[in-house]
Amino acid sequence: MELVFQAIATIFQPLNFFLTLAGVLIGTLFGAIPGLTATLAIALLSPLTFNLDAISSMLLLLGIYAGGMYGGSITAITIRAPGAPANAAVVDDGYALTMQGKGGLAIGISNVAGVVGGLMSCIAMIFLAPLLAKFALLFGPAEYFSVTIFGLTAVFSVSSKSFVKGLFSALLGLLLATVGYDPILPFSRFSFGVSGLSRGLSFLPAVIGMFAFAEVFRLVLEYQGEEAKEIIHVDRIWPNLQEMKESFKFMVRGGFLGIMIGILPGAGGTIASYVAYGDVQRNTKHPELIGKGSLEAIAGPESANNAVSGGAMIPMLTLGIPGDSVTAVLLGAMMIQGIQPGPLLFKQHLDVVYPIFAGMILSNICLLFVGMLVVKPISRIATIKKPLLISFLMIFGVIGSFASSGSLFDVLIAIGFGILGYFMDRYGFPIAPTVLAMILGPMVENSLRQAMITSNGNPMIFITEPISALFLAISAFTTIAMILREKKQSQGVSIQGE
């Protein structure tokens, strides 16, 4: 108990408090600029922390982590360019809200959701860390395969009206994910001798292309001159009681989903936010708003991806196994400071663990205030003239895809995906399944092949392993439910037609 008070006193020391706040601000800014990510911010700043003591530097980095997840949603909502793949789930609804003049409100909801999800995951981390870490270890290759399949079905069942088109999009994404290095053998595939392709299609440029560039092409091709339509500008950032009541439920549900998915090393924020999106779609009272500006559809995913941060900290701190790319960088930064995360950390270094917990809570509270600072100016984006907006999208798209790896080849990839995204959208193929499949593709492939090696080529392994069987059953159930729903709807249409 004494250590807890000591921890609280530590984080409120002026320097530490300042570093946390600065971290959140830096994280939000890095997250908000497409192409710059929290991972990059942490990697760039960790050498600067050599001169700080271990706890101060951790506080700075944890602040960045919390800010980054939220920051990415800002550009997803305002200009359709998600700051990180984890924010891609809110693009449709967020951008729709911006176009309706409610961008500020959407960002406000995202902010509150981020704080709720973040705080929930902190609590889970504090009380359940060692227990949850054991749970994570139960996942072998077969289980990972089934979880990733579950993530994929979750997204294609929610984001498309047509089962076949959704399936097509997801499979296209899986196919594109096979470009580059083979996960098992040391050879690159489908690179056609192009060195830029041999490392695979980087997914951040792909995401920016499919969302932002496709939007540029759409705006240009469908430009009808400035419409005289009156945009009702909603100056409000904070949701009113009614909106809060409806969204809060999904923030909590998203938080739980985020924690559970975050614990599994490698699964990360992107699956969590799409699974939460699916959850909202199935359970909302306003299904007609989904994809067209639903606040709940922002609350769920944004809470989930912030909750992943606490979830991913659990295997990192207790096992020394990072759950996502940010925690991988954090792990490195901790080791530079002479702290070795792992099973002994909780036994020998509670003096380090408690301030980390306290710091994560503090950074989530800071997030609420930093969030307020940035919302106002951004919320007026819908009033910008279209040609100007197009230019901004283009500039940010190019910068974003370039900055992620410093390679101009990635700008080409983004443009290519922009063209692909435009045509997919035009012919009713959902984009989200392709994006998620590209991210999960390597995991699906790797775990499938590992499991098949383990079982000597016997696919029964996915059913004989109980956890794996459970996830496959849920996936099958979701898929069948979707086919049935579609059938019912098409029957309804044909009856009306008669």
Binding site: G180, P186, S195, R199, G320
Partner: protein, 337 residues
Amino acid sequence: MKKTTRYFSILLIIALSLGLVGCGSQAAKTEAPATATAPAETKFPEKPMDMIIVWSAGGGSDLAARLMGDYAAKELGQSFVYQNVTGSNGAIGWDQAAKSTPDGYTVANLTFDVLTNQAMGQTTTKYDDFDLLMQFTTQPVGVFVPGDSPFQSLEELLAAAKANPETLQMATTPLGGFFHQASGLLEAKTDGSKFKYLPFKGSAEIIAALSGKHVDCGIQTLTGMEQHVQEGTIRILAVLANDRNQLFPDTPTAKELGYDVVWESWRGFGVPKGTPDDVKAKLEDAFTKAYNNPEFQAKAKEAGLDLAFRNSADFKALLDGQFPNVQSVLKQLGFIQ
């Protein structure tokens, strides 16, 4: 008519972006000869230098290179601009580094994989395309089993792998890589033992698989394994090094047990071949001084780096010695003819 205008504007946007991309690569090309002809003076370095790191930002190799680089930069009075050029097991970054202007302003972080890539024919870049500066770490590896594994010693494990070939699951990184090579050498010394390989993305995943008992054994670098061994979730059977390791003083080397397998991974630095001698000398001197800086030594120890120094000549000798072995083990594993 209007539609044509629109399509035209789309084309224009794409053309502009392509132009931008083109300009970028053009600039890189035209710049090169200009600096190449500039006489390299002993005034080197007059501006910040680039360091190309082929592994992703924040990983173990990246942190090690940045730490060493920062202290070397202090000696040189300029800073390093770190670039993570990742992909193709490092081949892309090393290729870029080897082809950059040999003026000392581009330093490449080199790791063991440069030998593997060359032996595999993954790249046209050879380690000979670099003038080596120095080696600063070594990563000794060991053979690990889950805590409750029935195997109490390396002999038992190898005997079981011989009795039932290709049934025991060994966790490695993608096949053909450093860990797989180490295990291949072990197999070769036992005349008939064979493991079933389960490749994972990296060390973190291998540790998880070992603690979660999803594999029977695994080869792993020693750094960072102490805790898991102390906790009892993972046990170490042997170290594949010349000498016992300070982290696990009670663990025998494979050599002591009669299997002559020493497989050492390393990190070091090099510059593209053709860099002027005085510049090379200045760089090697700076890296050596930085290595001997007690502050660096302390930081590196905190970060869990296994420091090991070789100067440019010894480093070259190490690589020249290792390369034929890499080739022969890859041949044995069936990757090359």
